[in-house]
Amino acid sequence: MKDVLNSYFSQEHERLREEIRVFVAQCISPFINDWEEKGCAPKEVLREMGKRGFLGLRYPKEVGGYGGDYFMNIILMEELARCGAGGFPLGIAVQTDMANPPILQFGTPAQIANYFTKAIQGEKLGAIGITEPDHGSDVASIKTRGVKKNGKWVINGSKTFITNGPSADYIVLVTRTNPGPGFKGVSLIIVDLDSPGVTVSKKLNKLGMCSSDTALLTFEDVEVPEENLLGQEGKGFYEIMWELQGERLIGAAGAMGYAGYLLERWDELAREDPAWKSIAEKAAQEIKQLKARVETAKLFNYGLVKKFIHGQYDTQLVSIAKYYCARLAYQVAEQLLLLAGPLGVKKDNPFERIWRDSRVYRIGGGTDEIMLEVIAKDLNLA
């Protein structure tokens, strides 16, 4: 299967892969344990990644991007996985594929210049604010209120589980600008997080993904310039559903990056360490099956990326990718940890860490159950 997977990547892609691999080995892996301990990475890393173009790989040069294609993004995710932790790459994925694409897609030239370009150049960090303490899966019912007053939006409400929340410079906030219920009154507003009235109410202590910081944010009479409305007033629900497709696709690619990395580590340990070797020999069939599943899933993802590059969004297929890859990544991590037995108990060994980290894929960006709802609905059997 290696040959067909490699066939998606040109020499330029491979050069980029090598460059990112070296960067990860030199500038991320040696520090990742420290960042896991501290709960976040220093902003200089973001700036450095921005300078090298890694944050804007698939975006056009005119807006400050690298001018590459989506496969470069896949490379970034697959290579970041080699740092052996999911947290830091999650923060990066929020920057490259969640908070900022809606700004490029729906934003004004000024918003693109002030937020998007600065984000992909590593000068500003973004966050995406959908989830609220009482509204997670049910996005259409969010309550955070934005009211127009004297040429400003006045915002009140709270958002939780926000990745990059404690350290981000701005957030793309899903806001209710029309008091009526349901998705019609929802709009996106970009909020600078140093605005008066914004509070990091709680930094959240998580089960995994520890090198990314997560927060509960509160907005109390926060005044935002009217021009920070992103896209069309009242169309925020559609816009955020558009965003979620990209979030889910990159989530699927990231998940397979980790599964592939773990299987590679497994083989390395089996070569280097007699204790692992004997386990690996007994489990050879199981490992072979996991590899086949991961490679098949990668091929499936690459197929979707090809469609995505041609502007084809298939909500059902993206949901399948997110659901399938999230579960598979977790299955790989769990099965390898179980095989490792007492060799896997040490905190922060890659198997246990990614077992904890990968658990979130089945929750964030739409839970397994919500993905199944979408997939089933699109079967259109009624």
Binding site: G136, V345, K346, K347
Partner: protein, 327 residues
């Protein structure tokens, strides 16, 4: 009311009043010692040695009460002192004053001895239930498993020993050192543990891990029920989504199947039978279900399940460690 149920009720009351821990409670050596000593003062640790007591039933109940009411680490530390260590000493052949003194001091909570859990055939000695206190002691088994073991008590850690931080079992660490070239000074010989005696200890350990797995399943299911009854999405309690109902019904069925099978096993064990094969089988199923049940209860919590302030993530981590060591 039978003696066993009076005992169980009193123990339950004790655990409820003295050992109710929050997510933030740090299990420490001092905490363990004070809990254990209180148990000893109230006579709970003594009962285990009485001839007439139904030991498997008592241990099953104790394991489940401790696991259900507190952190797994505390339950494991108490059970391995009380049940495993005393059984090891009972199984040692011949009379030895050192052995009797040690048993008395374990009952009183004056000595904490680490029992090696795993990998007797590997190059390392592995002690998973250590608080890393300098007052702890270690059972050392020499290597001849076929002929039985000679058992020693070691009071200090040999050079080169490491303490391993893990992803669960808060407050406890693993102590390990390589057997190759180890220099054990000042160890006291306690007696010989026959191959059969060793198997008795292993059967008991397996028995206790099943009881703890059930305790964890019960705890995590209760946390799941509480959450799904309170949490609302799309204008309805999430309990009202069919998938959530089915998940929890499936998890509950698995819990019940193992729970009742284990109660039967306990009765069989109480009648003086060996449970090696049966214990292995039920443990395998129990661990499998423990994983599934802790996973599903975490899932029904959505993002909250991933946050440290909710206990389901702890049951999920602690359960996995139990499986990794216990298998």
């Amino acid at each position: 009311m039978s003696e066993a149920s009076i005992y169980q009720e009193t123990l339950e009351r004790f655990v409820k009043s003295e050992m109710q821990l929050t997510e933030q409670t740090e299990i420490s050596w001092d905490y363990f010692q004070s809990a254990y000593k209180k148990l000893a003062e109230l006579g709970f640790t003594e009962v285990i040695r009485l001839e007439e007591v139904d030991k498997p039933l008592l241990l099953k109940n104790m394991a489940q009460i401790f696991t259900k009411s507190s952190h797994l680490s505390l339950a494991l530390a108490i059970l391995w002192q009380l049940a495993v260590n005393l059984t090891v000493l009972d199984e040692l052949e011949g009379f030895s004053e050192a052995k009797d003194r040690l048993a008395a001091s374990i009952v009183k909570g004056e000595t904490y001895v680490n029992w090696p859990w795993h990998n007797l055939s590997s190059g390392d000695r592995i002690y998973p239930l250590s608080f890393c206190s300098p007052d702890e002691k270690y059972f050392i088994l020499d290597r001849d498993e076929d002929k039985g073991f000679r058992v020693f008590l070691q009071s200090t850690l040999p050079e080169g020993s490491q303490s391993v931080e893990r992803f669960g079992w808060s407050g406890l660490k693993e102590i390990r050192w390589a057997r190759e070239g180890e220099q054990l000074q000042g160890s006291i010989y306690l007696g010989k543990l026959s191959k059969q005696g060793f198997q008795t200890v292993q059967d008991l350990e397996r028995f206790l891990t099943i009881a703890c797995a059930l305790g964890l399943m019960d705890m995590t299911l209760k946390a799941g029920y509480k959450f799904v009854k309170e949490r609302t999405q799309f204008g309805q309690k999430i309990w009202d989504f069919q998938v959530i109902k089915h998940y929890l019904a499936d998890a509950y069925s698995k819990y019940q199947a193992v729970s009742i099978a284990f109660a039967e096993l306990t009765e069989y064990f109480s009648r003086g039978n060996k449970i090696t094969g049966e214990g292995k089988a039920i443990q395998q199923v129990g661990f499998d279900y423990l994983q599934q049940v802790t996973d599903i209860t975490l899932q029904v919590h959505g993002g909250s399940g991933y946050m440290r302030e909710y206990p389901v993530q702890r049951f999920w981590r602690d359960g996995m460690l139990l499986i990794l060591y216990g298998k």
